[in-house]
Symmetry: C2
Subunit: 138 residues, 2 copies
Amino acid sequence: MKDKGTNILLLLTPKAQVEYLFDDFTVRQAIEKMKEKRYSMIPVISRETGKYLYSLREGDFLYYLAERHLSFPELERRPLASIPPSRDIRAVPVSESVPALFKTILGQNFAPVVDDQGVFIGIVTRMKVMDALMPEGK
Amino acid sequence: MKDKGTNILLLLTPKAQVEYLFDDFTVRQAIEKMKEKRYSMIPVISRETGKYLYSLREGDFLYYLAERHLSFPELERRPLASIPPSRDIRAVPVSESVPALFKTILGQNFAPVVDDQGVFIGIVTRMKVMDALMPEGK
């Protein structure tokens, strides 16, 4: 493992460079936002407190649409909060140890990172962690 | 890196244990199949030749549905082939070197693996590669 893999902050993609959804979005707004970058998973944060709430996957939207046979105009009236997250993507505190982060990120595309108040400050992507783990020169 | 990370076959999840779609499925059949396991991406193979064709993401289905405002009954008539893959997920030959595989898998959930005829024989998941790369005892 390279030295750069030793501190969560060194692996952080800060909030300003991350796409996320606010909890008061409609389903339509959320889909438009996700579509821009084609992320397979995206964090949802509280507009009021800035706290990380949960993460939604493209599939959560897909099966929500497919199961409910929703028409497109209906999507504008449905609140994002009506889509349940299928996976429990927990946030890691910025103080978390890097080995603990590695374990968390094995099973998910990114780990949301929060400060000691639970406020969302960014993400660590699996890509960055894998890059840090990659054998040198390969 | 542990020794087990040195041969693609040792990292392979064989076809019999993998979910995949046939190219002659309808969109409806494909969604039902993906939903069972909630994979975010799935390989499409030729029913006739068994060859690997491409991979589709949950998002490919989501935006296909959202953009076309399709009703559920219509999904039964739409062929899977009408959904374009958004990403070029190339198959790796089983003879590929493991370092080359590592590079491929950085940016995708799994790498489809094919024999020298292009026939799909299974996948290597990023999870397995990460596990092989994981520092010992962490």
